[in-house]
Subunit: 169 residues, 2 copies
Amino acid sequence: MSSPTEQATPVQDHSEPAAAADSPTEGTGRFLDSDLTHQVHFLTSRARGRGISHANGQLEGLDLKVRQFSVLSLAASGMNPSQRELGEFLSLDPSQIVALVDHLEQRGAVRRETDPRDRRSKIIVATEAGQQLHGQALKILEDSEDHTLSTLSPRERKQLRSLLLKIAF
Amino acid sequence: MSSPTEQATPVQDHSEPAAAADSPTEGTGRFLDSDLTHQVHFLTSRARGRGISHANGQLEGLDLKVRQFSVLSLAASGMNPSQRELGEFLSLDPSQIVALVDHLEQRGAVRRETDPRDRRSKIIVATEAGQQLHGQALKILEDSEDHTLSTLSPRERKQLRSLLLKIAF
DNA sequence: CCATACCGTTGAGAAAGTCAATGATGTAGA
DNA sequence: TCTACATCATTGACTTTCTCAACGGTATGG
């Protein structure tokens, strides 16, 4: 199908009406038909980029990023994750977890507690202040997500979450 | 403010059966119920990470990454994108586009052609070799995506693409 | 002609990702 | 018990990606 015959398509061939200036989707919308737009990794990348960017902006007031929130969230869950577990679940290198936990610990949001069953591993738990911070951030993130998914019906949002869950693990 | 009241859920409270060693989802599956797992940005991040990681692995033989492919793909589309348009559509800084195009150009996969209508902008077009490379990569990426979405039915895949498309733009 | 805006490019620095090595600790077998 | 080996958190080095400011060449509108 994709045998690239001599169709080199010179530039002057892109005959677009000179009135392209007032196109509807502000210029790059013409790529919406491209092959790329059908690739799931491209769509997830873009969706993620937009969502995270907006979320980070909204979290600015708390001086927190989604990256840090994800660690705080698990720490505040009462599930007592170890750093290794955090790394695995969040798809982050152990060394990155160290930096993240360092930051949250200096901020007084989490504590490192040595696991009595395995003194090599450290359990990350949220402090009282951390719980509070998590609560505030969660609220903001819910609003942010609501904004990101504003073009989706409640039913579609549920579907999306369900589908993503299936391919995320 | 941050007086840590002694209610901090001590570690020995995480009473888990000692037989946890043979748990089904290899350890971190116990976080699947956490709040985080309900957040779309977390799910998209994980899904994207897994997908791109696998895709990049499969593309290794072509010495190509999805990042570079996305540029090549638009260059090979016959839509004559300018670098600015590439940046906007791919959510990348213009300076990153320069590097990406430089690399593909040195490889002989794309050409920069000055737009006769606006000599500031450069149109990126795929060479013959670039078209061929794109064809091979596309095939590999389709297989990779098939692998990433293996837990989804054809109908679900279509739904997913449709939903992602709605929130990606 | 002039001021202003835009495009690609360069360079610098921050953030994020990857990898190897180490000390402390746990585990299993001789 | 002693010994070899594996695992966890940590550090450090390095690469990749992101973000931003500046600059030359070009376009646009007065």
